[in-house]
């Protein structure tokens, strides 16, 4: 059986795919990858579907021993990666041979990375998804983060694994969003934006917010200038989603992330635009966030442009793979 042995698990490594849609009415979070930009590109590099399950690595990565030849790609924040002790690059396809040891060390820039394996991980679907839902102990690898001794099975891969190393990958310019301890994140006004005082509305955009250590896949708790509401009027719970910024009574915002609850009852001051969610996913505790206001029209335009860009990456990668196979 094609498999990968987990020797070290890293700080927090889970299996995540494009998310678990269709069960929010049962209270089940969508979950899925935090940085969909990096994970989709990792999948495209090994010619998987964009939402195939990947390993999501946080802060420090795992050490893996291959019991089969495999084709993989690692994208996301910069982690020191070695294959049998030799440095290997991220953002390009890599070949591992049976017996090889891949070690993904500490994160030097950003916070998360994704490992995609050609063919995907052979892990059962739970409610149509392979994402790990840690709180409910479902999905992924037995509903939990990886531990030493785990054996990850791979689905059989129909690709021929190339003999010689691959020289191409994703351009540097695509990784800009990961850089810097101070990040600009674009948002649109949320449904309860008007519930905040004018001063607080202004403050939300003019000051910076620090990502606190109480931040995880469910949400980022931010620390900065407190935000006040005009009245203490309670609101009733309504749907919330990845990127919704809620403000509880104390006035410190919480950005809901991939594993967020399905509904919430705090005023939603803003919504992070979809294309900037990867920027937040790569922010770590201690980093600073500045919010910048855009319109829904701009947000939708940026969304469409991102999808068009993804299509271009896909075409480029397919072309490169054709060249690899033609060379044989």
């Amino acid at each position: 059986m094609s498999a990968i042995q987990v020797i070290h698990s890293g700080f927090f490594t889970t299996v995540q795919d494009g998310g678990r849609f269709g069960y929010q009415k049962a209270g089940v979070s969508v979950g899925g990858v935090m940085d969909s930009f990096a994970s989709r590109l990792a999948n495209l590099l090994v010619r998987n579907g964009p939402n195939e399950a990947t390993l999501e690595i946080t802060m420090s990565g795992p050490t893996l021993r291959f019991e089969t030849d495999a084709l993989l790609a690692i994208c996301g924040g910069s982690f020191r990666c070695t294959l049998n002790g030799e440095s290997v690059s991220m953002w390009k396809p890599l070949v591992a041979r049976s017996g090889d040891i891949l070690s993904i060390g500490a994160c030097q820039n950003g916070y998360r990375a994704y490992v995609a394996f050609a063919g995907g991980l052979n892990i059962p679907l739970v409610m149509n998804s392979r994402s790990t839902h840690v709180q409910a102990h479902i999905g992924g690898f037995h509903g939990r983060s990886l531990q030493p001794g785990d054996v990850l099975p791979l689905r059989s891969n129909t690709l021929t694994i190339p003999e010689s190393p691959i020289r191409w990958g994703i351009a540097f310019s695509a990784r800009n969003y990961i850089n810097g301890k101070r990040k600009i994140v674009r948002v649109v006004e949320g449904p309860e934006y008007h519930m905040f005082t004018e001063q607080s509305q202004e403050r939300f955009f003019s000051s910076t917010y620090e990502v606190t250590t109480q931040s995880d896949r469910m949400g980022y708790r931010l620390q900065g200038q407190a935000l006040e509401r005009k009245t203490n009027q309670e609101m009733i719970s309504e749907a919330v989603t990845f990127g919704t910024i809620q403000v509880p009574k104390k006035g410190q915002p919480i950005v809901l992330m991939a594993d967020c609850q399905t509904t919430g009852g705090y005023p939603r001051i803003a919504q992070v635009i979809s294309v900037d969610l990867p920027i937040l996913a790569q922010a770590r505790p201690g980093d600073h966030i500045q919010f910048q206001k855009v319109s829904w029209q701009e947000a939708r335009q940026l969304y469409t442009e991102r999808e068009q860009q993804m299509k271009r990456w896909k075409r480029m990668i397919q072309q490169k793979w054709r060249e690899v196979h033609d060379a044989h």
Binding site: Y23, A26, G27, V126, P191
Partner: protein, 233 residues
Amino acid sequence: MDYTMFPLSEYAVTVRFSAEVDEAVNDYVHRVAIFLEQQKKNGILDIVPTFSSVTVYYDPLVVGGYEEMCEWLRTELERVEQVEAPPSRTVVIPVCYGGEFGPDLEEVARFHGMTEDEVIAIHAQGRYRVYMIGFAPGFAYLGGLSPKIATPRRATPRTHVPAGSVGIAGNQTGVYPLATPGGWQIIGRTPLALFRPHHEEPSLLRAGDIVQFCPITEEQYRMWDDERHSSNT
């Protein structure tokens, strides 16, 4: 029924029918959700009914963007009257009140100057409507707690509340489907699993259902628990 529509994200739109909690509005919300689901429109990812709104998640590349989505919703909302309201079921939830399963029952009784049995009787006499499932897997927002036993949350939340714990928080009552930290006053525990991830319908409760709590003894609880565990293995 009147409504407003607004975007929640680039791939989600909320249709809000009211800003209040109201049984009739809530019935309508669930009818809308079921009706929209029945249309099986390509590109719809998820439909989330809440107290008085429905949020629809969609793939803009398939559906064609926010304006197209709103247009489709406006057309469909004209036809909702055609669906029957879903059948409301009465779900009886057995609860072992007090003791190790309900560590705050004594406190709740003292707060209201009642005996523990009086609190149990009032809680078990209630008929609770499921307004929505949300927040956590299988968590039901129930309406209808008697004001006689409404009790503020604990000053310090517990770091671990076992799955199945039945609690009171202000004028709400409910059951924790999963073990989590929590600040509700825990008055008992049910052996029933409210979240069943491998069932076709993973939440035991459904919006519109009526919940009744039925007191059971500790012995009955343990027998129930054994049955559940043996049937799972």
